[in-house]
Symmetry: C2
């Protein structure tokens, strides 16, 4: 590569890294432990990457954990244009998917082609959820806010009127699919949390159709 | 591994991940672009991991970028016990190193042994700075706040009375050592920033001894 091209590629990589700085300002619905503010998507992405790395090493999982880590670092970057979507929202998921794809095409497109293609492939792999790596990544992503809310004695579930049934209905499929051992553990923690009053009281229609989410 | 041991390992990994949640509350001296607050070390760690990944792919560098990414994700975890140290502080670096090692031994020690050993090895590799991966990681870590301050028209340099000479003296060796192409680029950006008044006016003794830091 010519020296001139190298300098252009560095300039565009820096532009990209300054563009994704905006993820530090995208707020989620969960609070860090002991902080009186919502967490942002940048710090969330960091935490789940370390979680995936640690869990894969601890359990000696056979997934390509490096790929999982990179996937988790960039999977939410579309929120810079599309905003965070509360996981318990019940409508608009298709429009949301299209908006996120458009967003990552724009944002990754700021980086040099060789980086942009790599990142977009990773993002699409996560989004499709077909590989063992993508499934494990989704399990980790889904479970982290649950552990934070459990640690916060109900946290945003109580703030937003979310019942035990809705949480289980929403998070169980992806966690069980991507890391069954983790679901085993979390299942018991969720039941213990229910006994301690960490969830909102279910509405009648939720109780009747626990899987509708 | 027995099912019982797996569940114990998951429980300890979750304890570890909730322990490092505290890094979201460790504040640095640089502000995210367009935010009126200091960045925290968790979101910083995320950003430099993505920076390293993108730059290595863009330039087709021969370093093991996965190892660099993991290193960057965990290299600052000691700040949970030891706090952030402003990079332009002039004393106390030896005590600081010892405090950080003690901190990561405690914090990684919360995770299951197989994860803890992996993380501690990565941390020590970064700290020693001998491998190509550790040197590249240090170059990325050093340069990120410089790019943020340049984007913020001087940012924390002006707030803290830091001169151009001090910044160059402090960041050049590690950046040039770990990624000379990046230093080439940054050198020109720093000079342009100086021309635009992004630095504090140097004190006489700084100007006379530009490399003393």
């Amino acid at each position: 590569m010519s020296q001139r091209q190298t300098q252009i590629d560095i300039a565009n990589t820096v532009l990209f890294v300054l563009e994704i700085d905006k993820l530090k300002g995208v707020l989620r619905k969960v609070r860090p432990v002991g902080e009186n503010r919502y967490e942002n998507t940048a710090e969330h992405s960091w935490q789940i990457a370390v979680f995936a790395l640690s869990l894969a090493k601890a359990l000696r999982l056979s997934v390509d954990v490096n790929r999982v880590v990179c996937m988790l670092l960039i999977h939410d970057i579309g929120e810079i244009d599309a905003g965070d979507k509360f996981v318990f929202a019940e409508t608009g998921w298709e429009e949301r998917k299209a908006a996120e794809l458009k967003a990552v095409e724009r944002i990754f497109g700021v980086a040099p082609d060789k980086a942009a293609e790599f990142l977009l492939d990773l993002w699409k792999e996560f989004d499709a959820g077909n590989s063992a790596e993508a499934r494990f990544a989704k399990a980790i992503d889904r479970s982290m806010p649950v552990f934070l809310n459990l640690k916060n004695r109900g946290g945003s579930w109580l703030e937003n009127g979310v019942s035990y049934e809705r949480v289980v209905g929403r998070v169980r499929p992806e966690i069980e699919n991507g890391c069954p051992e983790l679901w085993n553990y979390l299942d018991r923690q969720l039941k213990a949390g229910r006994a301690r009053g960490f969830f909102a009281i279910p509405k009648a229609q939720d109780a009747a159709q626990p899987d509708k989410l």
